[in-house]
Amino acid sequence: MSTPETKQYTYKEWYPTTKAKAQQPDLSPEEKARPFAKYYYEEIPQPDPAHYAMMEKPCDPAKALYPEQMNDLLNPGYLDVEIGWCNLANGAGFIANKIVYPGVTAEMIDWWFAWHPLEDLRYRIWYPPQHGGIHLSPEGRKRILDESIPMSERNWGVVHHVTENCDCGMENITISFFSPKDYGFDMTRFKQPFVSTFAGGQGWAVTVDKNDESITAPAMMCHIFRDTPEGLEHRTRFWLGYRLSNGVPECTLPPGVAVPQVAVQGLARHNVKEFTRFKHFLPRIYAEFGGKMIV
């Protein structure tokens, strides 16, 4: 049966659609008829000004976490930088963010990361100002819809083909999601109370207006969650300029090249904005659709 969740473009068909998605068009009649379309029209909450201000200036690179140290995220307590961004000594970009979600559970996170890539609109309602659209390959969709796979594992090996503006213009970003093990976590330590769930992978980003001179930029994305008395604590790390090469983080910048500050700061601010929205929105939408993939 054909449903909005099973609508599939081939790669050749999908790619040119991203230029239209980048224009953030009005919802189509079919989209407007979706039961979650109302979220698209909500007023989007602004970040806490104090929080947003922490992304104003770069932090001290000496206090930043390198991806090779990702297992420090499994330590109790907090690292030197939990909110901030900077360029690392090797030129890579570093971003940390922390936000606490009262009333949110790890199950909600797992459901959301598996649920939202099935339709452009599911992605757009997350953060309408900057989310253009999303698509999956046939095999990715098959896995996401495979009820035999635990929700927390649905995204493992799946690639999200995202069209998104991270404060530096609309880009096509392919994000390959990994299991925590494949991402590089020490699985002997990957357990409660140090971690409740994880969503992360490696992305390649290139402008929607790609030409032969455009740079395709790698980044490692890490969203790790743990339970706190105040609610689920979301700790984000990005390492821009890094790729996961056969499971090992590698800075993939040409010698002497640094990720532009504007790109690092842009993604940092975008992250604060989209997860501020997330905080207010996830419990409500989970209450309506949680656990289901087809709605």
């Binding site: 046939p138 095999e139 990715g140 390959s176 032969d212 740079i215 590698e250 993939t252 910048l253 040409p254």
Partner: protein, 262 residues
């Protein structure tokens, strides 16, 4: 992690294949040994023969249907590759290409290696002490063009399915393939303008996958023919544009390969 530059080229005007192969082995190769930079290892694959496209094609869809060598230059990581390709002072190697290659038709793939297990890594014919496996004197380089409808991530999966199916349907290949390596294109330096400029390419085709197959000798290369037919007729999802794919039978020439003192 290691990254490998694979450059397939053909002879420049005025050279025979023999003259081209002489040049790359003894001049280009020696330059790379004299100015090693961060090269970890360097092998050349000198083409003996090859086929381009499909028997069912009315005409060739590969822009170039003759290749004279594929050189493979390995680096410990992307940054060391870039340091070698674009040093502060242009390297002799980077200016040497025009003396042997028809550079505008170069095909460059920056690849990461994946070893694919083979059922029979050791020959039954004269295996000696039986302690050396996964080697062979005949090396086949198979450039497979992804079907444009297929997502790159699905392409990896479908190729592997087709490979496993072909191995089963090609019993002689199953018996004779000594080693298989999938070389997946890395999106770092995404075949973009800089790479085209560096390698003097004009509108190069982009290959997401080059599979290397090793066989004992040329006598066994028919195993590849059996395999490639099975793969082209595999029952799984369409994943390749075989008309734009090709394969080369080659002889490997080692240029740089360090052997630790024991």
């Amino acid at each position: 992690m290691p990254i490998k530059l694979m450059a397939a080229s053909r002879k420049r005007p005025g050279l025979t294949r023999a003259e081209y192969q002489r040049y790359i082995e003894f001049y280009h190769g020696t330059i790379a040994r004299q100015e090693r930079f961060k090269i970890d290892s360097y092998v050349q694959n000198h083409v003996i023969d090859g086929a381009f496209g499909l028997l069912s094609d009315a005409d060739h869809q590969n822009k170039v249907v003759d290749r004279d060598a594929v050189v493979e230059i390995s680096f410990k990581n992307f940054r060391e590759m870039m340091e070698t390709l674009e040093p502060a002072v242009p390297s002799a190697a980077s200016q040497d290409g025009k003396f042997f290659a028809n550079e505008s038709t170069n095909i460059i793939v920056m690849a990461e290696e994946e070893e694919i297990p083979v059922p029979t890594p050791l020959t039954t014919f004269n295996p000696g002490l039986g302690i050396v496996k996964g080697v062979g004197a005949m090396k086949v380089l198979q450039y497979i063009m992804r079907d444009e409808d297929v997502y790159p991530e699905d392409y990896k999966k479908y190729w592997r399915m087709a490979h496993e199916e072909a191995v089963e349907k090609a019993p002689y290949y199953k018996e004779q393939a000594r080693r298989v390596q999938a070389n997946w294109r890395c999106r770092a330096n995404d075949n973009d303008g800089a790479a085209r400029k560096h390698f003097k390419m004009v509108d190069p085709p982009v290959y997401d996958l080059v599979v290397t197959h090793w066989f004992d000798t040329m006598e066994q290369v028919g195993a590849f023919r059996q395999y490639v037919e099975a793969m082209q007729n595999s029952a799984g999802p369409k994943f390749a544009n075989w008309s734009k794919s090709f394969y080369l039978y080659t002889k490997q020439i080692v240029i740089i390969r360090d052997t630790p003192l024991s």
